[in-house]
């Protein structure tokens, strides 16, 4: 309820507004509502997925012209306005994907540039394609049918749509889709390991966002009553983009407030109108340099309570069977004859390795001996030149890390890769993304399957947190945790996959002696539930305490393999690695 209250207050203020002010302010409020229809969709692209789409005005332009031209009937038979608005949404969805597609392959700055280039071109085409767009002279905007043909009626229409968009994007934000988008933004490598399909998810979001932007364009044309290419300056794009950043990434309320503020701001100081873009840009610079989290971060700071300073992580391994109830995995992971080099260096040089279910398998060796690279080969981040990895007799696809989650392989990272701005609970819930069954549309509209998915994921995440001993911190933002807690948090996230195999990359690094002991207990218990654990570690004590099997690597080759007792007595291992 507390989360919904600010939205209701904004809505109430918007409903009261026409009765206490004049037509001019209704016009401004209408404009803010239309902008928000676009920004709410763009927010999923920029604020959640972190894709720097700076030229989204192109889709507003596209929607405005599509609606106007369809309604005017110059090219096609005249189409009723509301139908034209829907058609514009369809066109916008398609072009949203066209504009967004490069994001799947290109790095940040490249993507920003392609959207910028697209924005430039759409305006040029509108200017040159005179037979359809009227060129520089422009076309008349559509007029909606009664009762939406008065300024008050139109305002209510836009407001209703804006409210609907708020509701839908907030639903998406608090679903597995919203969490996955943020994971792609802040922890892309981890997102792949969890099994999040980046391409499919981004295309969905671009479809949705493009449709909303084009519908906003149609409404914009109605509001302007006459459109020319001049109406769609890049300044508008800047306004949309900056509203999201000022509002704060990963928030819905923040960008909503920022959109209202940025729309209204120039009205209070008429001389500022010429300088408004300068003002927006200056604001952007200040935000980026001083408050990268935007309004949302400020609101969050105000709500913070101090954390207990001498808290301890107390795992409860006895709860593990509640998650890892799949029994013993039937077959091992097999690496056969794996060779991989970086440039001239052979990181792995003909390695055979068998990771048995239900056992803790230690992988040790000096720095640069190929431990993490071996882990990356299993997880699909590095493709071996020779040899391969199989599980259940079927090969694990090389170079496709997003396929590992479905095969029951989970991992943690040498440097914890978590979403700092999300809560501990959300960080764990994102680990269960592939278990969800509802579609994006079901989440947008809060249909029953969405609720079922959410309830299941939440329950499983809380159980995983109890297992690793972090349940007290569930609502806290992950960037406030201590380093050791992040390590246990990664394990909790990995447990969400109910993994048949769990690969841990130096989980004890940076932990205190007591924490290492508890970690050891937890890892052993995970293996006793039937999960195969591969443990890459430097702490020899931990390795010898909990491992059933140990493989020692040196220069990418197996130097020795056997039980801890055998390894401890192995002459070469002692001289090369352990020391006397």
């Amino acid at each position: 309820m507390r989360a919904v209250l600010p939205f209701l207050l904004v809505l109430a203020a918007a409903l009261v507004l026409p009765h206490v002010t004049n037509d001019y302010w209704v016009l401004i409020a209408t404009r803010a509502a239309i902008y928000w229809v676009l920004v709410s969709g763009l927010n999923l692209v920029v604020g959640f997925a972190g894709q720097l789409a700076i030229g989204w005005v192109a889709l507003l332009t596209l929607g405005a012209y599509t609606t106007s031209v369809l309604v005017a009937g110059t090219v096609t038979p005249a189409v009723p306005p509301l139908l034209a608005l829907g058609a514009a949404g369809g066109v916008g969805a398609v072009f949203g994907v066209v504009v967004g597609l490069p994001a799947l392959r290109l790095r940040t700055f490249y993507f920003a540039m392609t959207t910028l280039g697209f924005a430039t071109i759409v305006t040029q085409v509108a200017l040159a394609w005179q037979s359809v767009t009227g060129g520089g002279i422009g076309v008349a905007g559509p007029v909606l049918p009664a009762p939406f043909d008065t300024s008050y009626g139109f305002y209510l229409f836009c407001l209703g749509l804006a409210a609907l968009c708020t509701w839908m994007t907030a639903n998406a934000a608090h679903s597995r889709f919203g969490r996955s988008l943020v994971a792609i933004r802040d922890a892309e490598v981890a997102a792949e390991s969890i099994g999040i399909a980046k391409a499919g998810l981004l295309v969905t979001v671009f479809l949705f966002s493009g449709a909303l932007a084009a519908i906003a364009g149609g409404l914009f044309a109605t509001l302007q009553s006459y459109i020319t290419p001049d109406a769609f300056t890049f300044d508008l794009s800047v306004l949309f983009f900056i509203a999201i950043l000022i509002g704060g990434r990963g928030s819905v309320l923040g960008p909503l407030l920022a959109t209202i503020i940025l729309t209204v701001l120039p009205e209070f100081a008429a001389p500022l109108v010429a300088w408004s873009t300068f003002l927006y840009a200056a604001l952007l610079l200040v935000i980026v340099l001083a408050v990268p989290g935007g309004i949302a971060a400020l609101l969050d700071l105000g709500r913070r309570r101090p954390l207990e300073s001498n808290r301890a992580i107390v795992p409860r391994p006895e709860l593990l069977p509640g998650i890892l109830d799949h029994g013993r995995a039937p077959s091992p992971i097999l690496l056969r004859g794996v060779v991989l080099s970086f440039g001239g260096v052979r990181a792995i040089d003909g390695l055979d390795l068998t990771i048995d279910p239900g056992q803790v398998h230690g992988l040790i060796g000096p720095n640069g001996s190929g431990k993490t690279t071996t882990l990356n080969v299993i997880c699909g981040f590095n493709a071996p030149e020779v040899g391969g990895v199989t599980l259940d007799g079927a090969p694990l696809l090389a170079g496709a890390p997003q396929t590992r989650a479905a095969r029951g392989i989970a991992r943690t990272f040498q440097t914890p890769r978590l979403i700092g701005e999300a809560s501990v609970l959300d960080n764990v819930m994102v680990g269960g993304t592939i278990a969800g069954q509802g579609s994006f549309v079901e989440s947008l509209l809060r249909l029953p399957r969405h609720h079922r998915d959410e309830a299941k994921a939440r329950e499983a995440a809380l159980l995983a947190l109890r297992c690793v001993g972090l349940e007290m911190l569930a609502p806290v933002r992950a960037d406030r945790l201590q380093h050791s807690e992040l390590r246990f948090l990664e394990i909790a996230r990995a447990l969400m996959l109910r993994p048949r195999f769990l690969l841990l990359d130096e989980p004890a690094a940076g932990l205190s002696a007591e924490e290492i002991r508890r970690l050891g207990g937890l890892v052993t218990a995970i293996a006793r539930c039937g999960t195969g654990v591969l443990l890459v570690e430097h702490h020899a004590d931990l390795i010898f305490d909990i491992c059933d099997q140990v493989t020692v690597l040196n220069l990418g080759r197996e130097l020795a393999a056997g039980t801890p007792a055998e390894i401890r007595a192995h002459k070469e291992v002692v001289s090369a690695y352990l020391g006397a």
Partner: protein
């Protein structure tokens, strides 16, 4: 017609190439792609027209003043928009901070200078608008000067070698005791000079117009993307090719479709070869 296409194509291509080099010089020093690169080109034209046509300075003095101002803008970029976000490079905040600064520069120019394209003064008075007119060969001359100048700087001077060292391995260069911050500021000043020179030399071709900034931002970035980040030779070759391609398309199918064609080629090439045609593959992620 072929002569006209080649003359104007190579001329605008030289400008794109120089803006590409501007991007590259900044990138080499800091691993940052800056949206102010195109604005520097725009400022070269606007400031040149202001100093020479409006304030009546002699051409040479006007050029010197323009380059000095652009160098200052380069340094300003480093201090305001780059240095504060260098610590968190992986968050790509520089995209936003340099975009903000670029928009501010553009908006101030629009308000204080003019929102209409203004003529740029004739410098030598050579040519009559045909393919041998100075407006066509000045950008090429500037491009040649920059290529030779950079080559001499990087190969013959200690400062140039230090630039290369920083570009190659920032940490190692600092460990050797190189004054990394000063060298970075010097690089940004150098980038400012190159961008300003591009704008000054192409003033008669592109006019002194505030909106050239975002245009050059895009068309100057295309050669960088095609040639590979930080690769100056790639940028020059791709820039000239881009100019000729664009002008040819311009003559053959008309202005709008020329820009659509450039955009399409840009996207297609990037999707096929995200590292650019001459770039190197990306580093490992885990």
């Amino acid at each position: 017609m072929l002569a006209a296409i080649l003359a104007s194509g190579l001329a605008v291509g030289a400008v794109y190439a120089l803006i590409g080099v501007t991007y590259n010089v900044m990138f080499s020093a800091s691993r940052v792609m800056s949206f102010t690169s195109g604005q520097l080109g725009m400022l070269g034209g606007v400031l040149g027209a202001m100093f020479i046509a409006r304030l009546g300075l002699p051409s040479l003095l006007g050029l010197a003043a323009t380059l000095a101002c652009c160098a200052a803008v380069g340094v300003l970029t480093e201090i305001v928009a780059v240095r504060p976000v260098l610590k968190s490079l992986e968050q790509h905040l520089y995209v936003l901070s340099t975009l903000a600064l670029a928009l501010m520069i553009q908006q101030v120019t629009a308000i204080e200078w003019s929102t209409e394209p203004q003529p740029f003064p004739r410098l030598f008075g050579i040519g009559d608008g045909g393919p041998t007119d100075e407006k066509f060969w000045l950008p090429l001359l500037a491009c040649a000067v920059v290529v030779v100048g950079l080559e001499l700087l990087y190969r013959r001077t200690l400062v140039g070698r230090a630039f290369l060292a920083i570009a190659e391995d920032n940490f190692a260069a600092r460990a050797l005791g190189l004054p990394e911050r000063n060298l970075r500021m010097a690089s940004y000043a150098l980038a400012g000079v190159i961008g300003g020179l591009a704008g000054f030399a192409s003033g008669q071709l592109l006019l002194a117009f505030f909106a050239n900034g975002s245009m050059l931002n895009f068309y100057g970035f295309v050669p960088v993307a095609l040639g590979g980040m930080g690769n100056n030779r790639g940028a020059i070759a791709s820039g000239l090719a881009l100019g000729v391609f664009q002008q040819a398309a311009n003559f053959l199918v008309g202005g709008v479709f020329a820009s659509v064609a450039v955009f399409t080629v840009f996207i297609v090439v990037l999707l096929v070869a995200p590292q650019g045609l001459m770039g190197s593959p990306s580093v490992r992620r885990v």
